[in-house]
Symmetry: D3
């Protein structure tokens, strides 16, 4: 038995994946330009329906260029949002993964520091706004 | 007595602010190009030391141009991070405030939809990564 | 201007929805056996791509019978999970929506009390396990 | 000194527990049909009053059959709620513990995948509902 | 039908409470020296077992003097912890309730500002520590 | 390559810190009476502007005596709030750090148990108040 906890399910090995799973793994490697399949996808593959649902959704949102859809957000901004959410939620897997992505997309250590400064600041102001139950300034909804 | 809860302290009125608080209010209006002082700052003003601490930090992080410091992030990206954090934490005051800011900086309703799509997606994957306790892929720390 | 904040975008009216959006609205009404389109979907409709992504995922996960897929979980259990997550995250919209769903599926006020008792208990033990940084008991991952 | 952090207090050993603590440990083993006392309870035992408070509450809520009380929820549903809450909060100890419990109660890896799909989905929709500040559909409270 | 959402269940009226519930309501009023029963307890009373479980636990933890138990924490410190937790979780009901309690116990508006400053600060540093995945400094567990 | 993930950036070594960073490190050691610079500050030092912003804010809030400012809160209460926030957010680094601080300030294992009892209790009641969407009791804001 291992001396520290691993994931609660056994990740699917690339070598032994079913054809359906192997096709999704290949699409992940190609779309994300990776030379391995990250653990997240290997764990999701224990439920192939879920793997497919999450991968097709993530591909549509994070890689719109793959289907020729235009986007208001550039790839770095999307990964910065992912890192901000993951830092707020305290998800170790996700922080490591999205930090690697923002670095690969060109953000240097100073830029990472600025992201963390903004993330830290608004986690503070969120708690303060909650803690005083401050009433929203009223803005009309916009089209 | 009001028939619904207001903030837990009485916001400081601009007209009756002390000189120290009034000077900070004036800096907020000028730096943020607003024609009113948002409730957040009026509530913080009940503790002038805290008002000053948060305002000087927020000004340094969100308005680096005011002190001539260069930044890797543009103003819209910073406000998008603020909105992503506030949506993840579920802070009504903050969501209203940062949505107004991103709209003012030019993000249209389609762009807002894309931000929400990314925020929603990674709140999902964070919970899934937590829920399976997926082990991080190992990347070396970077300088 | 309204005297209290509304959603940050204007929800799409059923009467004026585009054909693409109207078709999704009709599927929501039919699949969920509702006589109105909830605000959640009317707000998402401001970004039709996002509306479609979320609705198709939610339909696949929450209404597997609509596509003939078998499921280990019954509809009430799925809605109870949704309510547990929404209570933990403190989402007012979602709590109202999923409470209505569990009641419609037959859970009475006593059953709702039991759900809340379990939700409250494990939010407590989660914070305590975090607060002492208790090391996990080691179980091997399972197929 | 250890080379990685352990719990912040030293868990109480079963062999050296005081009579009061040993009696609770025995009740935990018997009620939960375990052949060891999980770390959670061994850490709580550093404050015997707290151990007793949490154990008696958990026993009443999670093991109502032990006191002959009827319940609307079956044991698997209760553990699924615990896992959903723990995944949302990102509690490693708790995820390992409740995953082991749902597996022991018969949920297979496909069923676990369905639970994670629902948990992930509603963490997404919660953030989206927060992020747009969607107004609740109005349902009257029910008896 | 109301024009804004109320609690999802109808709170129990003091005048029509069952004898079991009325006895707990009386204990709440006496222990907390209140001249009304807060909504929290009136809602929990829809499930009398849950009401009793939560009240007896809260009474033991927050009012140890009622059972003659000594405590390392004074009443104001306990309520400050409650307010810090509620601000972090963004719980409107709880923030209003615990702010009223700390004020009644003598904390003035400046003291409240200091609590909010500490709460805000550590919500920031928590997100930053998460966001860089900073390794804990190693301290041995203590008895 | 390491066999487990480290922080996502390489912490700055005390021996090779720039003069600006070294001066802040010296202030941290002196103000906090520590014989080492904790990892948190060594990681922040990868962005010296951010290091300075966070340290000066933390010093002002947590060590008001260093600038002769009076405070309504004593040092132990401030660290207890920090621990309550960190336990609620599930931040491993922060829990270890603030537990060491409260122990150094004299809280024994029984006192730590009481803090955890209060933290656990209000994480439970927060989720329950959210889960029923309980309406706040109305208190007027106070000066």
């Amino acid at each position: 038995m291992p001396d520290k906890p691993l994931a609660t399910v056994r990740p699917v090995e690339e070598a032994t994946a079913s054809p359906r799973v192997a096709a999704i793994f290949a699409d992940i490697r190609a779309t994300k330009k990776l030379d391995f399949v990250p653990n997240f996808w290997r764990v999701l593959a224990t439920d192939p329906d879920h793997l497919e649902l999450i991968w097709t959704r993530l591909k549509a949102i994070m890689h719109p260029e793959a289907s020729g859809r235009p986007s208001r957000l550039d790839p770095l901004t999307r990964e910065i949002i992912a890192l901000a959410v993951s830092s707020t939620n305290g998800c170790p897997y996700c922080v490591h993964s999205h930090t690697a992505a923002v670095r690969k997309l060109g953000l240097d250590v100073q830029g990472l520091g600025e992201v963390m400064a903004v993330v830290g600041l608004f986690n503070a102001t969120n708690a303060i706004a909650h803690g005083y139950q401050i009433e929203p300034d009223v803005f009309p909804p916009q089209d």
